[in-house]
Structures are given as C-alpha cells and as structure tokens.
Amino acid sequence: MSNESPQEDRFQSFVSILIATVTIIAATTAFLQAFAGNQAAEANRQAQELSLQATTKRVTGAVQFSYDWQGAFQTWREIDLQIIHAEQEGDTLAIERYTELRDRVASLSPLLGPPYYETSVNWPDSARYEADLYIVDSTRLTEQFTAQAELGNAWDDIANAFVIQLTLLAVTLSLYGLSNSLKSWVRWLFVFVGLSMVVFNLGWMAYLLIAPLPELPQAAIEAYAQGVGMAYQARDQEAIQYFDQALSIQPEYANALYERANSYFYLGDYTNAAQGYEAALDAGRDDTSLGWNLGWTYYLLGQFDDAVSINQQALTRDPTLIGLRMNQGLVLLAAGRFGNAEVEYTRALEEAARQVSASRAAGQEPPSSLWFYLDAGAADLESLLDTLNGTPKAWTQSPPASVISTDLSNLQNDALGYIRGIKEASASLEYTGQLPGLSSNAMVPSMQAGEKIDDDAGNFLRYDITESFPNGTNDVVILFDYSGMQTGQSEIWKVYVNGFEDPSLRVVSDWKLEDTGSAVKQITFAYSNVFVFTPGEYVVELYVDYHLMQSVKFFVEE
C-alpha cells in the first residue's frame, strides 16, 4: 500500500496512464515503421529486378542486332556488291546466282524482310528494327525501375521518420518516468513537454500517412517508351504525340518533357524545345545533358545571355566537358564578348590536351567523343560564318544572322583563328598526344581540285581544274604547290563530306617528296568498279606537322 499523499497518488496514477498510452502510440508507430520498411524493401527489390531486366534486355537486344547487322546484313550486302560487280561484267548467270543467294540469305534475319527492309532505298530500316527489338522494352523497364526506386526511397524516408518518432516517444517515456521522482512544479513541466512531443508525433504520423507517394502510372511509362522508340527512328512528330499522351497522364513527367523537347529540337522548333527543356528542369530533371541542350537551343534562338548562364551552370558541375566549353566560347563570340570567348576556347583546348595526356600516361585512350567534339567545335564556327556570309548549308546550325549585332569583322577573324586552332589541335593530339608545336617553314600557297584526263589509249593528257564534278565521279585529284617541306614530316589528308569527316578517306603518312615543288594527291574509288563519290560538298585539308597548310573545296552534283 502506498504511503504517499492522495494528491501524489493521483499524480502517479495519471502518469502511469500517460505511460501506458504512449506505449500504445509507440507500438503503433513501430507497426507503421515495420510496414513502411517492408514497402521500401519490396519496392527496392523490384527496382533491382527491373534494373537487371532492363540491362539484360538492352544487352541481348544489342547482341541480336549485332548479328542481324554484321552477320546477316553484312553477308547480304557482300552478295549485293557481288551482284553489282557481275552487272558491271555483264555476267548474267552470276547475276542470277548471286541474286538467288542474296534472297536466300535474307531469310536469316527479320531485318532483311518486311516491314524493316526498305526496297525503295535498298537498305534496312535498322532504327525501326532496333526500336521494336529492344529500345522500347528496355526503356519501359528502365522507367519502371526508376519509378520503383523513387517509391522505395520515399518509403525509406517514411520508415526513417517513424524511427525518429520512436526515439522521441522513448524520450517522452523517460520524461514521464522522471516526473514521478520529482516533487516540485518541474514534474508538470516534464509532463507538459512529454505531451507536446506526443502531440507533435501524432501530427507528424498523420502527415506521413496521408502524404502522397511518388507514383508514375504504367500508362504514362508505356506512352513514354513508345515515344522514345519513335524518337529513336527520327519519327519525331509521332514521338511528340506519344510524349503528349504520357504528359496528359503525368504532367510533371520530367523524362517525357525532356524527350519531347529533344523531338521539338530535331524538328527545328527551337522555341518549343527551349520551353520543354525548361519545364523538364522545373520538373526535377537537372543533369548535364539537359543543360547542354538547353544552352545550345538558347544559342540557336539568339538568347545569348540565357545560353551563357545555363552553360556556365553545367560547366560548374563538370568543368571537363570540352564540347560544352566550346559551345560557351561560340555563344560568347556570337554575343560579341570576344575576350571571354578566347578564354573559353583556350581552356577547351588545354582541357583536351590534359585529357589526352592523362589517358595516355595511364596507358589508356581518351574517349572517342573527344575527337567528335573537337570536330564539332570547328564545324559550329563554320556554320556561324556560313550564316553570317549568307551561305548556310543543309547541315548548318546557328542563330539567324539578324540576331547577331556584334562587330562582324572581329567575329569572323576570331572564328577563323579558332577553327584553325581546333583543327590543328585535334590532328596533333590524336597523333602526338600534345598540342601542335611551332610552325615550320612549310608552305602550300595554293591547292585546287581537278580531274585527270587520259586519251582513248589510257595515256595521261592533262588535269582539268574544276570545283564541280558530275554525279558518278569516282576519281578526283588535288593539285598543289609547296615549299619548305622536309622529308619525314608528318603529312595528314582529311576529307570532309557535307561538313563531316569521312575517316575512310583519311591518309596519314610521312612527307617523301622534294622540299619544294608541285604535287598531285589522288582521292579515288577508281580501284573498284562499284563505288562513286556521293553527291555533296567536299573539303580536302592537308596538315603538315599537324599544321593546316591548305584546304580546297569541291562539289559532286546530284
């Protein structure tokens, strides 16, 4: 029997009931914590499974497509070339034989039959085949994985919140226990603080129970995956319809906003593209690709300040992005901020040299994209100059000349210098791992394209200089004068077709001629009876010791 006063007994009874009540709340919290933990574990497990399945789908799809393309189609194509050869030779029986063989080989892969083989262009629609084979499926699985992972994270957060609540309830129980051993008003303070914590916990618990979880509807994922498949086939209008469908179900679907923006971009609708990228950014997609694309779109729209700002954000996150840094230089150049542009181009080339040097020092190779971005950096500058000169090409991407209000003379001078610098750096880094050294005395003052003319007996008559060659041309000669050459100097010939280098036509050798004179370089498919130059613009460049000596342009007509 208690010896305490009745008032003390009442207090202790009151605290006992409080403790028992808090115990019930704690047990309920523990139950909810276990529930949330289970949900998190299940979601994370499903995310792991989906991730594995997505990887497997992509790998097995790539394996199968590798066979379809380089097993079946390559064989088909080899036989097709044998047919062309037989046609050139007029061997009817061989034509029949190889045509029949080619048709039989076509049965080995779905890629070589309807609906993937396009008879109108005599070439399979590989993008459509890949989209059907694995792109759509693996995209769906990847999105499902991402959705499950986000759901798992959300449940993890909830479970962790319940753990904190349990800790607070333990503190509450401790306060109530202590209050029993106190006699003064302080014990009521302990009771009040404990009650406050319980009320806070109950409010928090209620919020956790009613707060929505991040859920991505399956229908939105399906529409998104179909959209990605269409975009992969460059069917951007249809892709946009699918992305619209996904966004009508889930308006804040960041990936759908981003991919729809990409499709708008490829359709040349830069305004909608920029708005789409901004919406994707607002929806939570914040990565380098988005910043890169948005910066480039702002540039094409002539919003140079916005472009500089978003490029800078992406560069701050990853300063090693050579392509993006050259974009930044290009934007600054177009905006007339010549000093800043020079800084960016210089840093881009230094970064390229650093990456090549570091890779080679580690016994590795730099990423292949490095060479692509260096080429693209020069091509973008050429596009800007072509636009300003009123001679844009089919492949030109640049802001309209009307939005460039800077000193054009300065811009052109600087751009030409950067183009040369980038091209020389690219050639030198690729073959020496270092930026080019000082120029030698070598000079190539003139370079022209021409055609070799023989008589009926096949004896050489002359070279006819021309800039334009008829369709079907399979042999072009480059005539040039030179001086100051030294035997053994590096000599590189590069050929650009419609703005992009054709690496199969690149020639790398050492200089073997005299130090001064005239020479002819042949660019030819005449060694076969099958190939000719495709129609378009050709630019031939000669580098000596990695310095661009001279270039010449010619056209092959449609």
Binding site: S16, I24, A27, E42, T55, T56, I79, L101
Partner: protein, 215 residues
C-alpha cells in the same frame, strides 16, 4: 481478493505483458532478418538468371553468325551446282564452276565442324536458335539456382509474419494500458480492466503462436 493482492497481480501482469512485448519484437526482428536474407538469395538468383540469359544469347548468336557464313557457302555451292546444269553453261564454265563449287562446299563443311553445333540444324537446313538458347539456359539452371520467385515468396511471407508480430505488439500495449488502469483503480471497474487485459494478453499469446507455427 484484497486490494494489495490485486495490485500485486496487476503488477505481475504488467511485467508479463512487457516480457511478451519484448518477445514479439524479437520474433518480428528475426522474421525481418530472414526476409532480408531471402531477398538477398532472390536477387542473387535473379542476377544469375540474367547473366545466364545474356551468355546464352551471346553463345547462340555467335553460333548463328557462323551458321550464316556456312549457309552462304552451302547455298552458293547448291546454286553453282544448279548453274552447271544449265544449257548455256559451256565446258570451260562448267569446269570453273565445279572447282568453285568444291571450294565453297569445303568451306561450308569446315565451318559446320568447328564453329557451330550442327545438332541445331533443322531437317530443312535452317538453324534452330530458340532450341539452342533454351538448352543453354537449361544447362545454366543445372549449375545455379536461376528462379528468384521462390525466395521472393518466402521473403514476402516472412515480412508479413514480422508485420503480424508488430501488430501483436499493439495489442499487448493495449493490454498493458488496461493492467495499468486496473492497478490504479480502486473501485470494481478494476476487475473489468484486468479482465480485458487478461483477454488481450491471452489473445496475443494465441496469435503469436499461430503466427510463429502456422504462418
């Protein structure tokens, strides 16, 4: 029962309920731990299954690539043979075709023996990639557990078990509340509180045993 004896009884029941609560937490924890292990085993099986799928696909298409070359030469030999029978083929051509035919059939035969298993050749000369893939996968299943579903079902079951023990904990907490109420009450209501507490405790014990042994 005197008031002192009743309070002692209520105190003992509070202690019993507390011990039972601790036991329920312990069993829930064990179940959660076992569920985690089952998940791990399931994911391991899943990884092995995906690995086996990829390797089987690679192997099959490696062989199919070799078969494609075989098929090309074999069919070319057949076509050359047909061509040599055509009336427009003269003697020189027939001789040349015969030589070419032996050459390409020789290559086809060489490929057949070394670069793909001829077992998967169908009677019509086509290659059964699906059969080879399925056999490769079945072979991998002989070596490793590739089915994660049984592990994941076990894991789900154990998680539910853990949840049920956590639920029992709530019931025990309510029983704890009633025993407390019984202890501090001096009128006849204390018997009602104690009775409810006892019922809840007994119910919890039965539920725990059912979960432990029958779930």
């Amino acid at each position: 029962m005197s008031s002192a004896r009743f309070k002692a009884f209520a105190s003992v029941m509070i202690a019993v309920v507390t011990v039972l609560g601790a036991a329920a937490v312990c069993l829930a924890s064990v179940a959660a731990n076992q569920a985690g292990n089952a998940d791990f085993d399931g994911v391991t099986a899943s990884i092995k299954a995906q690995e086996a799928t990829m390797l089987s696909e690679i192997t099959t298409y490696e062989h199919y690539r070799a078969y494609t070359t075989y098929y090309r030469y074999n069919e070319l030999g057949n076509l050359i043979y047909d061509e040599s029978l055509k009336p427009e083929a003269d003697a020189d051509r027939i001789t040349a075709l015969g030589e070419l035919q032996r050459q390409v059939w020789g290559m086809a035969t060489g490929l057949q023996y070394n670069f793909f298993p001829p077992r998967y050749l169908n009677p019509d000369g086509t290659y059964n990639t699906q059969r080879e893939f399925d056999e490769e996968l079945a072979e991998a299943a002989q070596r490793d557990e590739l089915n994660p579903d049984s592990y994941f079902q076990l894991s789900d079951s154990l998680r539910t078990k853990g949840m049920l023990f956590a639920g029992v904990l709530i019931v025990l907490a309510v029983a704890f509340w009633f025993f407390n109420a019984a202890e501090i009450t001096n009128n006849r209501a204390k018997f009602f509180f104690a009775a409810v507490g006892i019922l809840l405790t007994l119910g919890s014990i039965v539920a725990s045993l059912a979960v432990q042994f029958f779930f």
